[in-house]
């Protein structure tokens, strides 16, 4: 095999390698259940502070990714807000506003009277690349150890759907991190 043939063979092998790598990366389309949910320090809404999913370690968290321009997010917001008010002793609802104007996001929160904690992922890096969301809204149920228990792409139809999704957190023995082991 002369050097020209070697270069062509190497180029073909490299191209195939890139294609396989791309297919493998594409296959990793969502977070695996039971695995730790990635964390990132993000600005809060209203602005002026920073927060992270990690701040709620030791508590159940329903992480809800939303945006003010998203119609289905508006549709699910009243039910989500009611759910949070009724179950805040058992679970933290944490909103993550993504790819949104801060002014629009604040207007959204005022409009729906939402008081639960909010983070702002302006660029969408956290939601797209770390949480691997494919759109908004999407919700993640995170256990007190920070692992993913359930994933819900799309809007919740009603409060019952949210309760069914968050059932592991609402069971009496699951309200605190240590309780699960007892």
């Amino acid at each position: 095999m002369n050097w020209r043939t070697s270069i062509v063979v190497l180029a073909v092998v490299a191209l195939l390698g890139f294609l396989v790598w791309g297919l493998v990366k594409k296959g990793e389309s969502s977070l695996a259940l039971g695995e730790p949910v990635p964390v990132a320090t993000l600005p809060t809404l209203p602005e002026g502070s920073e927060g992270s999913l990690e701040d709620y370690r030791g508590q159940w968290v329903l992480l809800n990714v939303w945006a003010s321009w998203c119609g289905p997010c508006k549709a699910e917001s009243p039910a989500l807000d009611r759910f949070e008010k009724q179950n805040r002793d058992k679970i933290v609802v944490l909103g993550v506003d993504t790819k949104d104007l801060s002014e629009d996001a604040m207007k959204f929160l005022r409009e729906f009277g939402i008081k639960y904690p909010q983070l702002r992922d302006a660029s969408g890096d956290y939601t797209d690349q770390k949480l691997k969301t494919t759109g908004v809204p999407e919700s993640f149920l995170v256990d007190p150890e920070g692992n993913l228990v359930a994933h819900y792409p799309g809007p919740f139809k009603d409060e019952a759907a949210i309760e069914a999704f968050a059932a592991p957190a609402l069971e009496p023995q699951a309200s605190a991190s240590g309780d699960q082991d007892k």
Binding site: W69, K99, L101, S102, D104, A122, S123, G124
Partner: protein, 153 residues
Amino acid sequence: MKRAFAAFAVLIFLAGPNLSLAAEPQASLPQLEDEVMCPVCGTLLGLSHSPAAERERVFIRKLIAQGKTDDEIKDALVGEYGGQVLALPENRGIDVWAYAVPVIGLVLGLLGVIAAIIVWRRRRPDDDEREDAPAPTEAEEDRLDKDMARFDL
């Protein structure tokens, strides 16, 4: 003459700010739509009519109405959506490499082509190489003479 010169100088001084304002490029939505991205679609803003893109347009129009320049509007967009909102990388920091690498590549490519041409010209068959060629045999010389004779008019 001095008075006329002084009057001219005063006129230029007074007109200066207005002239500089007139030279300031007016921000325009169509132009900005080709320079910034839709935050959710992965395309230029001008190519998208998603709800998020429409909100971005509203934001830009508001800043244009406030008299902001292109750069100020882009800065505001970066503040809202992050650096990915710019269709072109910024010409500062590590982003400069996005512009520098193609130029460096072009220069290196040109140098490579020039070097290849020089090498190629030097390696053209010259007298030395021709001398290295084996001498024709007697039979070949006879055949050559005969062939030449046939063309001899």
